[in-house]
């Protein structure tokens, strides 16, 4: 049975079993590969997307349970038109291997939407579910603070 999904403002009909996680719908069915597979057990945050603005681990949301509009990294901004948070990631040269960064950015975007001026402690709390094996944490922290101040000025 086909399931209707709204992803990055666009309507999609997906014909997959109900229990297929949103992550694998996005990657293998829709072709949105910016959302990454890291662990499959909600332990690394690489698959983070937004559902109705809330950061969720898409590896844990079954297709039939998607309760709202989905936003992925591709829906946040594009190389030619980056969102402020992505520009901060570029300005601070955060990425090393880069594999976890889509999830990091989606988590950080949700944090800033809720808390426009997060403290270091707020960042620790919000971001500790997102693993980075390259250890880019210092620049992630700096980029979040920078994006917060830029968004405040805007």
């Amino acid at each position: 049975m086909a399931t209707d999904l709204k992803i990055n403002g666009k309507q999609h009909q997906v014909d997959l079993p109900d229990d297929v996680p949103l992550l694998w719908v996005l990657r293998d069915e829709i072709g949105l590969t910016g959302t990454k597979f890291g662990c499959g057990v909600a332990a690394c945050g690489a698959c983070t997307v937004h559902i109705d603005g809330e950061a969720v681990r898409s590896c844990q949301v079954a297709l039939s349970d998607v309760w709202g509009d989905v936003t992925t990294i591709e829906g946040v901004g594009t190389p030619d038109s980056m969102a402020a948070i992505q520009q901060a990631w570029v300005d601070h040269q955060v990425a090393q291997c880069g594999y976890c960064q889509s999830g990091q950015i989606m988590q950080a975007a949700a944090l800033l939407a809720e808390n426009p001026a997060p403290s270091d402690e707020d960042i620790d709390d919000a971001m500790q579910g997102n693993l980075c094996r390259c250890g880019t944490y210092p620049r992630i922290r700096a980029a979040i603070h920078d994006a917060a101040s830029k968004l405040k000025e805007a």
Binding site: E74, Q93, V94, A95, Q96, G98, G135, Y137, P138
Partner: protein
């Protein structure tokens, strides 16, 4: 750029060659002063170039794996520095698997010297031997060698291209080449007219490249600066393509299970349930495991896990304790190497007091963020393989033999790597994807491992032990006698890559052990090889990753036995042996405001490891917070000789440190019933935002030769943390991971 694929399938380019509508440049420097032995024949043009210019633009090739270390950007900058192009106006590609992209520095690293003590003659010998990398097809990213490898050759490639383009402009304008300048991808005529390189490319292809002097570093405009990474926009927008993101037309998705008793056989399997599961298209018998090809990766994972398999036993002791008993047994046999044997360690100097200690560190997984995967398309007569990998020529050879094809029939596409750390220098993921795709000819199939499969089928950093004996007298170290025992990654890897048994003294096993820059009169360091069949491989900083902990924890124990401040104790010994190493210790002393005293509830530790040509000193500060210990701060000083991109060096230093601290705190692979007991990140975690230290990095440039940066940040982190915990608690950390002994914040 449609012509690129065709051009790149040929073999080798030295100098320049005309291509359709443009020109390609190789690294001329390699062959000088000999004439080009491989001049393209009629109709046979460019081959594996580093610079390609046609009407569409300028393309630079950085044939080293971009796994986060920034190599693509800095490699391109070496070329762009001399070529006078801007990095945001050109394209940078990995390029294909090709012999011309051999690593010249990797073999130099294998010479049996300590590294820091080498003469210019030995340095040059290393460079000359490096050309052997070409004949061995060593297109490898590893050993923190890329910049040492590319530093001369790529500037030469850029300079040769620039002067040839200028000659083409000079011919067109009827002026002398010396009257022309270059800037931002164009030749500038005496009257200020700009002629873009793209317009000169075709004519340049007909010109013999002139001999060129490299620019003086004082005139550099890119090298030595913080450059924007060429991959950073893609990696901030989800558009950078990793192996797992490759989507050729008609792609199917597969997942795999290999015997978790590593190296054991598969006796049989029952896939009847899996075959009925949704999306399943085919079950594949891999001999030592099974795969399922499906319409979706997740459906493939579900199905492959539903297969009932009868696994044979592992060819090693099934439990961790028995494995370490085997490692300990290696001490009883004669050493594989004794690469340092100074003075007389058998006689305790008169009046000296002796100390001994034994250390143990566990097996470790690489745990790259992107699980192992590769995508293959097998047609019967040819194979295309897409994957992030650290050794494309080796992947090509392995895939060809798996598919029973000639090497030339196998095309390798190297994507970005979602972490390498040594894991993607292995060939298993490419081989498995090839076998899976061979079951469905004509259809591209992406084989993705589950995280559990990835973690339980690694080539692990070997578990290792050390037995240290030392002596101090009058506040000074007068004797160090160390033995390390572990499996040999090198011998096992040689066997895997070449099919021939590796032998001889294993320098990698004792790196970070025998070659530390301390002036101690009686100093002997030996390596013992444990005979075990657990798959082991190269883990960021390799032998240094255990030896750094052994050596620098023991230095701390000696300092305390001598009644000395551990930083001053090291500084005195390093000053007498290697000034850049001493400089790093002095730098972290100043950065951290080291006094040797810490307030109640605060502990500090120091360590220094010389590895891959770069000494790195670190001070770690830990704080007790109501019984939980947090790693609060870190100070890092490195001496890389020449920092081609300081921002990248800084990132590699703290990234390497966090990789090491993660292992020190909680990294541990254990075995039960022959199987790895860790499945996923909840069992094998790493530092995260809340428990990674605030870090300050200082980059020094006094070292005579350029050192590596991707790995040297890792080794000193582990002993520095252990030494800090000793300072805080009075308890000595002699076994990793530390979480088994200390209540660290996780």
């Amino acid at each position: 750029m449609a012509s690129v694929g065709k051009i790149l399938r040929r073999t080798f380019l030295i100098g320049s060659a005309a291509i359709v509508g443009g020109v390609a440049f190789g690294a001329y420097y390699v062959s000088r002063p000999a004439a080009n032995p491989l001049k393209p024949g009629e109709g046979e043009t460019a081959l594996s170039p580093f610079v390609l210019i046609d009407q569409q633009g300028v393309t630079l090739f950085a044939p080293r794996a971009e796994m986060g270390q920034g190599v693509m950007t800095t490699w391109a900058a070496l070329i762009a520095e001399e070529l006078d192009v801007e990095l945001d106006q050109i394209r940078v590609l990995h390029g294909p698997a090709a012999a011309a992209y051999y690593n010249s520095a990797l073999i130099g690293e294998g010479l049996p010297n300590k590294g820091y003590d080498i003469s210019d003659f030995q340095h040059n010998l290393g460079e000359a031997l490096g050309v052997l990398g070409r004949t061995l097809s060593l297109q490898v990213t590893g050993g923190s060698t890329s910049m040492r490898d590319g530093f001369e050759r790529m500037r030469e490639a850029g300079a040769t291209a620039r002067e040839t383009l200028k000659q083409a402009a000079a011919d067109r304008l009827g002026v002398d080449r010396s009257q022309l300048k270059t800037e931002n991808g164009a030749v500038i005529a005496p009257d200020g007219t700009r002629i873009p390189y793209t317009e000169l490319a075709e004519a340049a292809g007909q010109i013999e490249p002139p001999e060129v002097e490299l620019r003086d570093p004082t005139n550099w405009r890119l090298l030595g600066q913080n450059l924007p990474r060429v991959d950073v926009v893609g990696k901030s927008t989800g558009t950078a393509e990793f192996g797992i993101d490759v989507r050729p037309e008609g792609l199917k998705f597969a997942s795999v299970r290999i015997n978790p008793k590593l190296g054991g056989e598969m006796k049989g399997f029952d896939a009847s349930e899996a075959e009925q599961m949704p999306g399943v298209e085919k079950v594949v018998d891999l001999g030592n495991g099974v795969a399922v090809i499906a319409s979706n990766t997740w459906l493939a994972i579900q199905a492959v896990e539903a297969i009932d398999v009868d696994w044979g036993d592992a060819p090693y002791p099934p439990e961790t304790d028995a494995i370490f008993a085997e490692i300990a047994k290696a001490f009883d046999a004669s050493p594989n190497s004794t690469m340092r044997d100074d003075g007389d360690v058998d006689t305790l100097p008169e009046g000296a007091s002796e100390i001994t200690a034994e250390y143990t560190v566990p097996y470790l997984a690489h745990a790259t963020m992107e699980p192992m995967n590769a995508t293959a398309l097998f047609t019967g007569s040819a194979l295309e393989l897409w994957c992030g990998n650290q050794a494309p020529t080796l992947v090509q050879i392995r895939a060809a033999s798996t598919a029973n094809l000639d090497k030339e029939a196998v095309q390798i596409h190297t994507t970005y790597l979602g972490g390498g750390f040594g894991r993607r220098g292995e060939l298993d993921f490419g081989e498995i994807a090839t076998k899976v795709a061979m079951a469905m000819p004509g259809v591209p199939v992406q084989t993705t491992w589950s995280r559990e499969e990835d973690m339980r089928h690694d080539y692990y950093r070997p578990g290792a032990m050390a037995r240290m004996r030392g002596a101090v007298k009058d506040g000074q170290a007068v004797l160090i006698d160390g033995k390390v025992a572990s499996q040999s990654c090198t011998q096992q890897a040689v066997q895997r890559y070449t099919g021939m048994p590796g032998g001889g003294p294993d320098k990698v096993l004792v790196e970070g052990f025998f070659n530390q820059p301390y002036a101690v009169t009686n100093y002997r360091m030996s390596g013992h090889i444990a005979d075990l069949d657990i798959p082991v491989g190269f883990w960021r900083s390799v032998g240094n990753s255990h030896n750094g902990f052994f050596h620098e924890t023991f230095m701390d124990e000696m300092a305390h036995a001598a009644g000395r401040d551990p930083l001053e104790f090291r500084l005195e010994l390093a000053k007498a042996e290697h000034a850049p190493s001493a400089g790093c210790l002095q730098a972290v002393k100043e950065m951290s405001g080291w006094t040797g005293e810490t307030p109640e509830g605060v502990g500090r530790g120091v360590a220094m490891t010389y590895s891959f040509g770069t000494p790195v000193a670190q001070v770690i500060e830990v704080i007790d917070e109501d019984g939980t210990t947090r790693i609060a701060k870190a100070w890092i000083a490195c001496d890389v000789g020449l920092a081609l991109d300081p921002g990248t060096v800084e990132a590699q230093m703290y990234g390497g440190m966090i990789y090491g601290l993660s292992a020190a705190v909680m990294g541990e692979i254990t075995f039960a019933d022959g199987e790895v007991e860790q499945y996923n990140f909840p069992d094998y975690d790493a530092l995260r935002m809340h428990n990674a230290p605030v870090t300050e990095v200082k980059i020094l440039e006094t070292n005579r030769h350029m050192g590596g940066v991707g790995e040297p940040g890792t080794p000193p982190s582990m002993p520095a943390l252990g030494n800090a915990l000793f300072d805080l608690t009075g308890e000595r950390a002699r076994t990793l991971p530390l979480i088994n002994q200390f209540n660290l914040l996780i």
